[in-house]
Symmetry: C2
Subunit: 427 residues, 2 copies
């Protein structure tokens, strides 16, 4: 492998030969009649089996206060579950709410509540502003962007660096324009780059001056506990840093057990300043008879405490770390040295970020599809699905069995090489 | 009891004697040091125990199509559960969505989606209308009204009759004012009156001309299956009548198992035209990774089929019908013949509607509170908690044990009589 040279350094004849070689490899790939899917970050069945005990829980229907979890009420969620998440997220239990099965739902509620009523510090309901804009680090999570698009919120992109969003770019956008009301951040093992927001970047984001008095950072810590190495990085203390900077209401934290227990039947968590929590509960009380506390108790009994969650996550790591290693091995075997692709070796989370030659990502995805390998659409990690360089591909290796990840990724490497060769010879 | 004469027919001396008698009865009541609660329509623990098998369900994690219910997806809900509810609600399975643990949440979503985007037939998002008004039959469900108040929607009241909302009053409100965009209806065993909307009233509501092209009836069929007698009345076919009248998108139906299985851990249901369903799912997909399908399957396994639900509801009836009989017995024993109160003898649902002498309901509730009997605040069944006649009290007898219902209601009868005597002697 080390004998490879950059594709751009080849002579025209060498490049033609490389192209022919990749065309043959691709024909061989197609002939295999694969049917593989790397599109979504879903836990595999063996990961879901780690929580099989949920089927027999809870063993009681009373919480520790003696309240019947089967009945109405308890809008904030079961206190014992809130305490577990407070420890895991490094916040106070009083700042935590536990909800239904989806943190996405809580994010959407916070956003629509801000639109309908405004929040702490707002001069008016956001719906009554002429325009609302959000800062969106890219590449990022497609559902964050589609939610904003559906609500007619404009998206301003900034680069996502290895230590988090480009702070200077963010600060410039928020400093003078009061229409810039919010920002998405996935602070730990970001989707799809795997970036971890450093304490310095977090401090800057929480302290930076904003023209909007009610600027909000949606701090989606979906992968806070989803380590792939022994380096179990701690998330930056968003609420503490914001309070220290005099902006206690700026961040709203979200997390869930969707990739801890069961993707569709877990529990979601939100943490915020107490003012934000009171504001949220006031409006939530119009829309809810309380969360599913039976499922809260089910989760409390499964884990016991915060350490139980951490131990559980190490079992996930055992199952999925080999799949991430397989992605890296296949891309290294097929592409190293050619200088036509860069990819991440994430230390946590659910994705590998693959950047191919500019203007070839769509072609790679199309080639893969024709070979029976489903990839996330090129551009999915950008607002409106538009990657200006057409180079970004999000790989999601957790769901398929290991042998399928290996087969699919070998195929992807072939597609990347073929698309690059096509592109360079077409020039 | 039949020897009683109307309180208003007594001479001043007789009335003074009656008052003194009630004051003594009330003093005796206070001396008992009761601590009873008839405030909310909650199932009692023995009702929740009817679904104890849920603790051991589901027995599989695959739905009938072979999909893993633990994972993401399935935004419409489990097809097998949708079919059960379709039969129970008299609609097509294709019209049904199953959601989370609260139909109130689905109502709030539909309402906020209409505000944010408008719906089928809307000329614009409702938030961009100068004012939005809803027709509210009274007395009605307090949470319906508080949701509207929180959203700044004006409420226009109409009388709730024994066969449903006063159709002429409704028709007059909606005919000419395009700001009148919607209406609440609890069609079966309404909260709190127990009224059942007749097919004729339903037909009129679905067919009446409305100035708003996107008029919506929120058809909250929370008690569709909650019979208290052998007369298991069928709800009017709102969707069919609306479609026949050329207004297919007008009604949106809601129901849940909150008072069938577990109040806080059940499943919610919505049924609508397919256009409304597609509109709702489009926006819901931005806010949800799918409902808790494990809980859907848990419910499917508990019931088996629609008849399983009906059989389950008969077991509820066995537990709560005696409590409703106790309410009637206590009110009859204490008040019959005095012509100072009227109350319902509901054939289903969760409430008894008690109308006392005008201008005395608040006093009755205050007297009861001082005697250790918590009642729903007077006026709770009216928009903004304002009963213009101060006569309406909602009684919720399901949660306390039977002996407590008996004790509480005997006390309530005393409070009603005392308040009436005070009022008539103060004249």
């Amino acid at each position: 492998m080390t004998s490879r040279v950059p594709l751009r350094s080849l002579s025209p004849d060498e490049l033609a030969s490389f192209l022919a070689h990749q065309q043959q490899a691709y024909a061989d790939l197609q002939a295999r009649g694969l049917k593989l899917d790397l599109t979504r970050g879903k836990p595999a069945p063996d990961q879901l089996d780690l929580s099989a005990a949920l089927l027999d829980l809870p063993t009681t229907t009373l919480d520790r206060s003696g309240a019947d979890v089967r009945n109405y009420g308890g809008l904030e969620g079961l206190p014992e579950l809130r305490e577990i998440f407070a420890e895991l997220l490094g916040v106070e239990a009083a700042q935590v709410l536990c909800g239904g099965n989806s943190s996405l739902t809580m994010m959407h509620q916070v956003l629509t509540f801000l639109l309908l009523w405004g929040g702490p510090g707002s001069e008016r309901a956001w719906k009554d502003e002429p325009v609302i804009k959000f800062v969106c680090p890219v590449p990022g999570y497609d559902r964050h962007f589609s939610m904003l698009a559906d609500l007619g919120i404009e998206m301003l992109t900034v680069p996502m660096n290895a230590d988090g969003p480009d702070v200077d770019a963010v600060a410039a956008l928020v400093a003078d324009d009061p229409a810039v009301k919010g920002m998405w951040v996935v602070p730990t093992y970001a989707n799809p780059t795997g970036s971890v927001v450093s304490p310095e970047v977090a401090r800057a984001l929480m302290a930076m001056p904003t023209a909007a008095p009610d600027f909000r950072i949606f701090w989606d810590n979906a992968y806070a506990l989803h380590h792939l190495t022994d380096d179990e990085v701690a998330s930056a203390d968003a609420l503490g840093l914001a309070a220290a900077a005099g902006n206690p209401d700026r961040p709203v934290l979200f997390a869930s057990t969707s990739k801890i227990t069961w993707a569709g039947a877990g529990v979601a968590v939100m943490a915020s300043s107490e003012a934000t929590k009171a504001w949220f509960l006031k409006h939530l009380s119009m829309a809810s008879i309380g969360p599913d506390k039976v499922n809260h108790l089910r989760h409390v009994e499964l884990f016991g405490d915060a350490e139980g969650v951490r131990a559980h996550m190490r079992r996930h790591r055992e199952l999925i770390a080999p799949k991430f290693a397989a992605v890296d091995a296949a891309l290294t075997a097929g592409l190293e040295g050619l200088e036509i692709a860069e990819w991440t070796r994430p230390t946590g989370g659910y994705f590998v970020n693959l950047d191919v030659l500019d203007d070839t990502a769509s072609r790679v995805v199309a080639l893969a599809k024709e070979a029976g390998i489903a990839l996330t659409p090129a551009g999915a990690s950008f607002p409106h699905g538009q990657d200006p360089r057409d180079r970004n591909i999000r790989l999601a290796p957790t769901f398929p069995p290991l042998d399928q990840v290996e087969a699919a990724m070998a195929g992807v490497a072939t597609c990347v090489a073929l698309a690059a060769a096509e592109h360079l010879t077409a020039g």
